[in-house]
């Protein structure tokens, strides 16, 4: 059952020949494809890592741009608000001035009308007074005397007005 013979030598040769055949025809292509795959996976991983880094940098740049744009937008908005406030203030000021002018013009007109009315009243008052006086004293007065009396009365009234 256990006997060493010429089979031993043949088996040694068999094994070495099998190693040579398999090594040349079979293992080389398999090892080549395994190495190619390993290299490809390594390259893919490297490339993926590079892409991730690039994406991170791009994201950082976009975020910086976005924040810059936000600052600019805020500046534009605040500038617009300020301009609007200044404009509104100017418009309010102009309106106030216009109102003041209107008010002044109205006051002047009232004053002028009041003066006219007063002058008119004075004339009528003097005329009426003269008529009354004439009737009372029943004296014939010439128109010159009448005018003189009227003017004197008016002058008195003006003097009284100036005196008060």
């Amino acid at each position: 059952m256990v006997e060493l013979n010429g089979t031993l030598l043949i088996q040694i040769l068999n094994f070495i020949i099998l190693c040579a055949i398999l090594g040349h025809y079979c293992y080389k292509p398999i090892i080549k494809i395994l190495d190619e795959r390993a290299n490809r996976i390594k390259n893919d991983l490297d490339s993926a890592a590079k892409s991730r880094d690039d994406a991170a940098k791009l994201k950082e740049s976009y975020e910086a741009q976005l924040s810059e744009a936000q600052v600019k937008a805020n500046e534009i908005v605040s500038k617009a608000v300020k301009e609007a406030e200044v404009q509104a203030q100017a418009q309010i000021q102009a309106a106030h001035e216009a109102i003041e002018k209107e008010k002044e013009a109205a006051t002047k007109q009232i004053e002028r009308e009041r003066k006219d009315a007063l002058d008119d009243l004075k004339s009528q008052f003097a005329a009426i007074s003269c008529d009354i006086a004439a009737k009372i004293i029943s004296t014939n007065m010439t128109p010159d005397i009448n005018d003189r009396l009227i003017n004197e009365s008016i002058a008195k009234l003006d003097a009284q007005k100036a005196g008060k």
Binding site: T7, Q11, I12, N14, F15, I16, C19, L22, C26
Partner: protein, 220 residues
Amino acid sequence: MHLHTGTHVVSMLFGMSVNWDTIFTTWLSALIVFLIVFAATRGRAMVPSGVQNVVEMVFEFLFGQFRANVGKNYRKVSTVLLTLFMFILTANQIGLLPTEHLTASPTNDLNTTLGLAIASSLLIHFYYIKNKGFGHWIKHFFQPIAPFVFLNLIEEISKPITLAMRLFGNILAGEILLEVLNNLAPWLVPIVWIAFSLFVGVIQAYIFTTLVSVYMKESV
């Protein structure tokens, strides 16, 4: 009961007796290994499938083991180690085929296992001389001090013998027991033992290859 397992068809060749049944099953195993591995190389797809996938999976597992045992230069000896594993694995399983004693495992013959072990040993020393030089090779027998040469020589001789005996004993015992069980209880029991023998065949191929890869560490 006469056991067929362990008996051989012997005839003379160049004045030496040769176990032709062992030689025949060795060639058959070698052919099967060649066909399987050759088939795996035909596709060369970047995304493997079928036999290419299986063979690449086995190779990648073995390369991992070789890298751990031999070191980063394991590629220098991977041809020998891969062939050892593939051949022993196939040879161990061939004896389990139900072929009425036509296909006994070639590894149930001490000539085969010792032949593999001696060839491995010769290759270990060949790679040692190739990679480190003849001077270093001579010197390593006298490490750590000169008197250790005797122990080192005994170790170098015992390595192939233990490798051969372990594989031979396991496979022959498994096949003898399979034949005995087949005679004693032909139903179901042998099937269980065949399943276990399949496992033993894989383990023994792995052990033989791993031990040779450990021995190869000094050679690269």
